[in-house]
């Protein structure tokens, strides 16, 4: 494996990493993702849990503490790097899209 995370990230992975900028337990991640994406990304619990487990295995997030019986996760330094890398990639993609849609049109959307 050359890189710890597959590139490009799936949308769901991206948002989970984004949400875990703050320590959260599993279920709360779904709510935060929904908020952050303005109700656009609705994540099923099966999808969320699969992603959390994989991100944890890849050390992009870490188990912060046990809040009673619930586990609390947070972005790791490695995860932050991966997220930033993906952010730049997406930004670049939007930049490239401006060739076609221009500044004005893209901001309307």
């Amino acid at each position: 494996m050359l890189d710890s995370q597959p590139t490009p990230m799936t949308e769901a992975m991206y948002y989970v990493l984004l949400a875990l900028n703050q320590p959260l337990h599993g279920y709360a991640v779904m709510d935060v993702v929904k908020q952050v994406s303005n109700d656009r990304v609705l994540m099923g619990p099966g999808t969320l849990y699969g992603i959390i487990k994989r991100l944890q295995k890849d050390r992009l997030i870490v188990l912060e503490e046990l809040d009673g019986r619930r586990k609390v996760y947070q972005l790791s330094e490695l995860g932050r790097e991966a997220l930033l890398k993906e952010y730049h990639r997406l930004q670049q993609m939007v930049e490239d899209g401006k060739l076609m849609f221009g500044e004005g049109k893209s901001s309307e959307r």
Partner: protein
């Protein structure tokens, strides 16, 4: 009041994920809510007819850290109902809710990998075992061809082959189906309920027939065992028999059957019985050993005691009779070319003669005769008696 329960056989295979979701949901609309899955059955409880969404996920249970997963699912409105191996069935608690358990097909494919691996492993193992069993059953078929004819011994290996074919068919279907599901997910489509009736009916028909054949076989075997527990050496009846008797061959009329000395019922030296099998529906077997007073063996070694083993087999068809005759020769042949093909009125007659022993196997159409005679009488005399019995 006691809850009304209904148990249904799980005709749908483990890997029929979408079909099972549709089936459970269909049962709920008919007022039967899934509460439990056992190895072979699903249990439903009587309830109001209602629309319930069921979704399956794949993970191992019980597993201490899966508590968290189940908790997250529960908080999102998905309640764990039942497990079938790695397959976990969830139902949506809030009926107004429209969210899905899985929203990303790639993540769902990831989850299904565990099941796919499991099914592939089991598939490969059963394939290897099947090949071994296949060899074993062919070996069983070869081991006693005569008993295949006379005692239906071909059925057991035949049943094994049938089971193997069913297992191979099932496991192959499973592996193909899992690949299809993965392909669907990787193309970006989530799993969803699909029509399950065709598969359910096919599996019910296949499984049902197999269970029917298997139980018929067991019944048949039991019946045979009971039939066999009858007299092993029934007395020779006082009537004309369909096989050559010693009285047909012996020139003397004054003779006595040698009495049996042991305590068991019947005599191993003097008995007559009729039996049946699938390939040879009529089998006659006669053993006679007699003593002729006043007559000695030619070498004066003692009083003359001729004996006969006489058989008649009515085989299902002429073609089968030919095969059966060959197997009989094979089984009774110790040295190469013991039996010589001899020209008589029979379709074929094989003769093996040494000193005082005449052993012949003959066939007329679908009827096979065998006579083993110890005595002074010549082979020609014996052959002509068998020809008379055969109606020439």
């Amino acid at each position: 009041m006691k809850d009304k329960l209904k148990k249904k056989i799980l005709w749908l295979d483990l890997w029929d994920i979408e079909e099972q979701e549709a089936w459970f949901s269909d049962m709920a609309t008919h007022g039967w809510e899934l509460i439990k899955i056992n190895k072979f059955t699903a249990t439903f409880i009587k309830s109001e007819p209602q629309r319930i969404k069921y979704r399956c996920d794949v993970f191992k249970l019980p597993y201490s850290y899966e508590d968290e997963r189940i908790e997250i699912y529960r908080q999102s409105g998905w309640e764990h109902v039942a497990s079938r191996g790695y397959l976990q069935v969830f139902k949506q608690v809030n009926k107004k809710n429209t969210n899905e358990l899985h929203t990303d097909p790639f993540e769902q494919a990831e989850a299904l990998t565990l099941l796919k691996k499991d099914i592939s492993t089991r598939g490969v193992i059963s394939l290897v075992l099947s090949i071994l069993m296949l060899f074993l059953s062919f070996f069983m078929l070869q081991s006693s061809p005569v008993r295949n004819f006379l005692e239906d011994e071909f059925i057991a290996p035949f049943m094994i082959i049938l089971s193997i074919l069913l297992i191979i068919f099932s496991m192959t279907t499973g592996m193909v189906h899992m690949s299809k599901l993965m392909k669907k997910l990787h193309s970006g489509t989530l799993l969803n309920e699909v029509n399950y009736r065709k598969k359910l009916n096919r599996n019910r028909w296949l499984g049902g027939s197999f269970i029917f054949i298997l139980s018929s076989w067991i019944l048949f075997n039991t019946a045979q065992t009971i039939a066999l527990s009858g007299e092993r050496f029934p007395e020779i009846p006082d009537k004309e028999l369909p096989v050559v008797e010693i009285s047909d061959i012996l020139n003397e009329t004054n003779y006595t059957r040698i009495p049996d000395m042991d305590d068991f019922p019947g005599s191993i030296d003097n008995y007559y019985k009729e039996e049946a099998s699938i390939l040879v529906p009529k089998q006659y077997e006669l053993y006679e050993t007699v003593e002729v007073p006043g007559v000695m063996w030619d070498d004066n070694s003692g009083s003359y005691q001729p004996s006969i083993q006489s058989y008649r087999y009515d085989v299902r068809s002429e073609w089968l009779a030919k095969q059966f005759l060959q197997e009989l020769i094979e089984e009774n042949q110790y040295l190469d070319e013991n039996y010589q093909l001899t020209i008589t009125q029979f379709d074929e007659l094989w003769l093996n003669q040494e000193d005082n022993k005449t052993d012949l196997i003959a066939r007329k159409d679908n009827v096979v005769y065998r006579v083993v005679h110890y005595g002074k009488e010549t082979a020609d005399e014996i052959i002509s008696e068998v020809e008379i019995k055969a109606g020439y």
